[in-house]
């Protein structure tokens, strides 16, 4: 029998503000949604991989809400790749033969956290003296690096935001569901040029969860009709680059993860019908087109300008609204990306459905640095 691993239940909460509930409650609701869709109970779960960047022991605290069954729980923190790492670890656990049914949950509350990215501590504050460690600056500088290489303009960066904000108007679970024309994006408050406020992902609260099963279990329970096959899963850390650790490189690590996932899946870039990639700040979407092999090296700007990455284009990117507009509850993002792909692969994405989608790719980058890539297919 094949050793494929499947998603049989997956859920994400609408990203937004949940001031009256804590991370365990949010994670619990997403977990219950995933269990319900798979038609199983918490007692059927044999292991749990739970992720949160700002919470400790989140897995146990979720089980305290939905059923403490004594199973193995592993809590994972891997920056913005936390949720994706949970799925990857769950996949490994099933492939090892140890388990048939695993629960993965990612949850975060980031409302009100403001600028993320820490200035290093020392005898005196170092912010400014060491340049800026804020995320908008770090990714603004990555965008400028890309622009110097390719001729991308600030208008191109803004157009990414226009596209993803437009997509979110069709996603009822997105935080922002608002059109942002080009001039509005360009004239928004500058946070760190070239990045304006509407080119930054939004700090929100959110949770997402999925149930993974072995092929044996999927067949036993008769769930193949709703199952999503994990064709490729890869997690990479950043190989040495000449500007480490001064300037994080999110490109090489993404290429490494993408190439591993492609090799595992046997899928070619041309087979990908839609992609949810890590648009934490608008400029970085463009190099990721190239890093994920959605176009030739150097052709990212052209791909955007051609309209290929809009809904209806050759390879729609971030039809959920992306991190820019759907929101970015850090540890939930990786699983929320898989939720989006699953909707499309099952033909249930509503107004934003990518017609005939059969294979989807999901990508995240956690600064520090790591990247995860998953390739999913309807079983």
């Amino acid at each position: 029998m094949s050793q494929d691993v499947y998603i049989t239940g997956i859920e994400m909460l609408k990203f937004g503000r949940y001031p009256d509930r804590g991370p365990p409650q949010l994670g619990a609701e997403a977990a219950l949604g995933a269990l319900d869709e798979a038609g199983i109970a918490i007692a059927d779960i044999q292991a749990m991989y739970a992720g949160s960047v700002f919470q400790s022991m989140i897995g146990q605290r979720i089980l305290q809400q939905i059923g403490q069954t004594g199973i193995q729980v592993v809590n994972i923190t891997n920056a913005c790749a936390t949720g994706a790492a949970c799925v990857r670890e769950g996949w490994i656990a099933i492939r090892s033969g140890e388990y048939d049914t695993v629960l993965c949950v990612g949850v975060e509350q980031t409302t009100g956290m403001g600028l993320l990215g820490g200035a290093k501590t020392g005898p005196i504050p170092t912010d400014g003296l060491l340049g800026s460690a804020t995320m908008p600056s770090v990714f603004g500088e990555a965008g400028i690096e890309y622009a110097a290489k390719t001729g991308a303009t600030i208008e191109d960066f803004a157009q990414v935001a226009v596209k993803n904000h437009h997509h979110s108007t069709m996603n009822p679970k997105a935080y922002l569901q608002k059109e942002t024309p080009l001039d509005v994006v360009l004239n928004a408050e500058v946070i760190a040029w070239p990045v304006t406020k509407l080119m930054c992902s939004v700090n929100v609260d959110g949770a997402a969860a999925c149930v993974l099963m072995s092929e044996r279990k999927v067949k036993e329970l008769g769930l193949m009709g709703q199952a999503i096959r994990i064709r490729g899963t890869a997690l990479a850390s950043d190989p040495w680059q000449e500007r480490d650790p001064t300037m994080p490189d999110v490109n090489t690590v993404t290429r490494l993860a993408a190439d591993k996932a492609y090799a595992m899946s046997g899928v070619e870039p041309g087979d990908i019908d839609l992609c949810e990639l890590h648009d934490c700040f608008a400029p970085i979407e463009l190099p990721h087109y190239e890093n994920l092999r959605l176009c030739e090296d150097g052709a990212g700007v052209e791909l955007l300008r051609s309209g290929a990455t809009e809904l209806g284009g050759r390879i729609p990117v971030n039809v959920s609204g992306g991190l820019l507009s759907k929101g970015h509850p850090i540890a939930a993002t990786g699983i929320a990306n898989l939720y989006e792909l699953s909707l499309h692969l099952r033909g249930k994405a509503g107004d934003r459905q990518v017609a005939g989608a059969k294979i989807g790719m999901a990508h995240v980058v956690g600064l520090g640095t790591c990247s995860a890539v998953h390739i999913l297919e309807k079983a």
């Binding site: 400014g128 003296l129 800026s132 500088e141 400028i144 600030i154 500058v190 760190a192 070239p194 040495w240």
Partner: protein, 140 residues
């Protein structure tokens, strides 16, 4: 009353201040592959894994690799300022504040020649009242 006017300290390990108060850069370089690190001690090389290093003095010239104009920073840091990543001609990559140019996109083209200068660390003092010397970039 004791005299609290201690000589300023180096804000970062890659800055060295001699007995005469003159500041310079210091860094370590992997003897095997030549990779630079803006540090004083290292166990092994992140690029090649070898464990032998030599201390060397980087050049004070380089070129701008990438920059952003920070309008909103962490509390306590005056804005706007230019955050700059600089490839030293012979030395590690340093990040810092580029000053002496207007905070305008046209002033920060990729490849612009810059030099490293040393100055008081924006008036910041530690809990004992010591002042610090930091690096800054200026147009060359």
């Amino acid at each position: 009353m004791s005299d609290t006017a201690n000589p300023p300290k180096a804000a970062f390990p890659f800055i060295k201040i001699d007995a005469g108060g003159r500041a310079s850069l210091t860094a370590v370089r992997c003897k095997a592959c030549g990779s630079w690190y803006a540090e004083t001690h290292r166990l092994a090389c992140a690029r090649c894994g070898k464990r032998e290093f030599e201390t060397a003095e980087p050049t004070l010239t380089g070129k701008l690799h990438a920059a952003s104009i920070v309008e909103r920073g962490f509390p306590g840091t005056p804005t706007p300022f230019i955050s700059a990543v600089v490839d030293l001609d012979d030395g590690p990559v340093l990040k810092g504040m580029l000053r002496g140019v207007a905070c305008k996109p046209g002033e920060i083209p990729h490849g612009r020649r810059v030099k490293v200068v040393f100055d008081d660390a924006l008036g910041r003092k530690d809990a004992e009242g010591n002042s610090y010397v930091s690096h800054f970039f200026e147009p060359a």
